[in-house]
């Protein structure tokens, strides 16, 4: 083949036109392709940012409306809420990990106190249940505000530095970011009206056993009931409902075990757990260990105390997606709760004997779930 065959031939204007086309294509695929890519990625992030901005603004509006309704306020709390949405917690230093959980717990306690004081200030006439729900609503509004600001930060940073790397990372993370933001956004209705959410599944299992039995507070925001069950004594723990609380179940387990001085035969923990894609919502799985998704301190206390008294620790997980964990409970999860109740009964029947004391801890946010 001759080289001339590869070149355009024919009339001069046809040759020129062909060369122009060739040049245009070469430029399109070599010189401008990054510009096109940048344009598409920027467009995707900007579109998502509009959505995130809407979520953040609407969450703030719902929060203000709920604060005014529940707190029976005459004045506008918007300014105070705007200021508080910028609240932050600095994580403890972990370069020297000694005592890091104690320090983390202290900071988490301080954070919770700040939330409580703020809600008491903006909604002084809200009842205890509404105040707890407002705390959760405030946390959701803060999360949506933070997601919006972080996404915006990376978009602006990528534009200022012209960094494709920064832009690519945020553009490829957008579907996951939107998924989390939508989960928070969908939880606004549940937290403003006090409906149970997917994360309340563990508390609902505990409540099923507590039904008709008196309960007492055994730790901060955690109640316990002594329930007779087929010759055994169940000590059932859950956060104090129906307000949006998680309590300190670690402290509660420690207090109960200290009270019974190690005569506890078994600890059973039930919690909602993140499902893997492809798994069925409401599926119940069983394992060992402390079934609790806290940042660390509560889990540590339970593991420490169970190890100290050599008590077997059973974990029951009710599987759900992150969107389901934060939004109003779905029928599949209610069915999962029923299945988990049966699973707990089965564990008690087969792994303990009559006369034993068994601790059953229903972990999770107890919004919309009373104390049985």
């Amino acid at each position: 083949m001759e080289l001339a065959q590869l070149l355009p031939s024919g009339e001069p204007y046809q040759v020129l036109l062909s060369l122009a086309y060739l040049l245009a294509f070469i430029m399109l695929f070599t010189m401008f392709n990054q510009h096109f890519q940048r344009f598409w990625w920027t467009r995707d992030v900007e579109k998502a940012l509009v959505k995130l901005d809407r979520y953040a603004k609407q969450s703030k509006e719902i929060l203000v409306k709920t604060v005014v309704e529940r707190g029976k306020l005459d004045s506008d709390p918007s300014k105070m809420i705007d200021d508080f949405l910028e609240f932050f917690v600095i994580e403890p230093v972990d370069k020297d990990p000694f005592g890091v959980l104690k320090r983390l717990e202290h900071l988490l306690d301080l954070e919770r106190d700040q939330f409580r004081h703020f809600v008491a200030r903006v909604a002084p006439r809200a009842d205890a249940v509404s105040a707890a729900n407002l705390e959760s609503l405030l946390a959701v509004a803060m999360a949506l505000n933070l997601i919006y600001k972080i996404t915006r930060h990376y978009l602006i940073l990528s534009k200022r530095t012209k960094s494709l790397l920064v832009l690519m990372q945020i553009a490829y993370s957008i579907p996951l970011i939107l998924r989390i933001a939508e989960a928070y956004y969908n939880s606004l209705d549940a937290f403003s009206t006090g409906k149970p959410i997917g994360d309340s599944a563990g508390a609902m299992v505990a409540g099923r056993f507590m039904l008709g039995h008196p309960c007492v507070e055994v730790a901060e925001d955690v109640v316990a009931s002594e329930v007779p069950f087929e010759g055994r004594t169940l000590v059932v723990l859950k956060a104090d409902g129906p307000g949006g609380k998680v309590g300190k179940p670690g402290d509660a387990v420690v207090n109960v075990l200290e009270k019974y001085r190690g005569s506890v035969a078994r600890i059973i923990m039930v919690d909602a757990a993140a499902k893997l894609e492809g798994e069925r919502s409401g599926q119940v799985a069983e394992g060992v260990g402390a079934a609790i998704g806290d940042p660390g301190p509560e889990k540590y206390k339970i593991e420490e105390e169970a190890t100290k008294y050599r008590i077997p620790l059973d974990a029951i997980a009710i599987k759900e997606a992150i969107e389901e964990a934060l939004s109003t409970m779905r029928k599949e999860l209610v069915d999962g709760v029923e299945a988990a109740v049966e699973r707990v009964k089965n564990i008690i029947r087969t792994r303990t004997k009559e006369g034993d004391v068994v601790v059953l801890a229903g972990i999770g946010n107890t919004i919309g779930v009373g104390n049985g």
Binding site: T193, K195, P196, M204, L211, G241, R330, V334, V369, G372
Partner: protein
């Protein structure tokens, strides 16, 4: 707004198919057009239409249906169970009136969200 976007995808698809048919007809009837050039043009048009359809599909994703909320009322003594719409102030294990069947205590045994039947 959403309802206006939905018919856009089938309209675009129908338009691209119609254009493709016209092009094929032209390439078969007018001999002056070189076959390769017509084919290339036809392919370009199909790809362009597909891109437009994809973009339109991305814009016009159907919104999620609004759920309705159900409170399940059960009796502590008998198997009486009924479902009703969620009312403000409802929470799981809330005690209600007496059971009309056995006089036992009614309580809310579950609250959950369901898709409205009309919205699939």
């Amino acid at each position: 707004m959403r309802d206006m976007r939905r018919p856009l995808i089938p309209t675009l698809a129908a338009a691209s198919v119609a254009l493709a048919i016209i092009l094929i007809a032209l390439s078969l009837t007018i001999r002056q057009l070189e076959a390769a050039a017509s084919l290339l043009f036809f392919l370009t048009l199909v790809v362009a239409s597909a891109s437009l359809i994809a973009m339109a599909a991305q814009r016009g994703l159907p919104a999620k249906p609004t759920p309705s909320f159900i409170s399940v009322v059960s009796c502590l003594k008998c198997d009486n169970r009924e479902e009703r719409e969620f009312r403000e102030g409802d929470f799981v294990f809330k005690r209600l009136d007496k059971c009309p069947k056995c006089g036992g205590e009614l309580f809310i045994s579950a609250i959950y969200a369901v898709k409205r039947a009309s919205e699939g």
